[in-house]
Symmetry: C3
Subunit: 138 residues, 3 copies
């Protein structure tokens, strides 16, 4: 069995956006009891991560740490025509996943207690981010 | 066809733990000849990596390199209440996968000669790490 | 339904090699309309990434940025017998994926407009890189 569901997310700059509810809902709607759920984002300047879901400071620290690691305005960049935040966004989107595959058990996403699913926006401005879910199993 | 198998691994601090045998065994037990095997860990302070399996020094260097990149006690962190190693563990678990999908061929994991599968513990203390395998195919 | 297709790619040193056409072709040949395509490389010194496909400068900047982050000749390395570029290659292959799972829709890879699929060679010398594709769905 294969079930698909897509949605679009409006982002408003750098940071993580919780999509756990959308993905969990797709799994429940699929009618699939046991298998896998893939979540995919169709961009090269955003990512999908699984991260600690209890203390928002974790994701703020993650953002701060990545901003320092992948600097805007780094003189090493030659691809600079699309804005200061563009090349860092491509690097961040390479260092972190655009595709997550998560087990499905008992008709639900089998995430750990502290695991949330986040779209991570790597650009400053607002964007519409496309996300596709594919649930397969029996 | 879908086959699942889960296990728990006791870790004793930072470092890589070879789980290739457990994953290979699940694939053989599945009876699936051709398809995919997903391995997933249900935590935000551990990862799953595919790494060189011949010289243990590779994984020791990897640990040393990541420890220097993602420092304990970095003044950028605000999430500090769960220990010096906690925020670095979350960052390391974002920089490396928690989910691996590996092809199955001829009833076996189709890894390269030098590829091993490792759980990477990012915390100092002992932990029980949950790992779920999902084999799908025919 | 499960469809598999494998190929080998000759690389000639550091850099990204576009494999989008090969992966797209496997999906079309599979006859699968809806599902997932996994792409896997059987090595610990190369990766598979999804990256911006319009301006080659993006991938050149990515290469330059990673070369600076993961230095050759770093005194932290103890695994040095296989060449200056060997340990950096293992680190780079851990920081970036060796396995990509991409949705299939309408009998085609459902990539975003700006997403290309690249094998990323992390070693200086020529190599033959093995790539396996597994398409599952209906």
């Amino acid at each position: 069995m294969v079930f698909t569901s897509d949605f679009s997310l409006a982002t408003t700059g750098h940071g993580t956006y919780d999509i756990s509810a959308e993905v969990g809902s797709a799994v429940r709607n699929s009618g699939i009891t046991t298998g896998l759920c893939n979540v995919f984002t169709h961009h090269t300047s955003a990512s999908l991560i699984i991260c600690e879901n209890a203390d928002p400071a974790v994701r703020e620290d993650l953002e701060a740490w990545f901003k320092r690691l992948v600097k805007e305005g780094d003189p090493i960049y030659t691809h600079t025509s699309e804005g200061l935040d563009d090349m860092p966004a491509h690097i961040r989107s390479t260092l972190t996943p655009v595709s997550l595959t998560i087990p499905v058990r008992h008709g639900q996403l089998a995430l750990g207690t502290w695991q949330g699913i986040y779209l991570w926006e790597h650009r400053r401005r607002s964007h519409q981010r496309q996300i596709s879910m594919t649930v397969m199993g029996e």
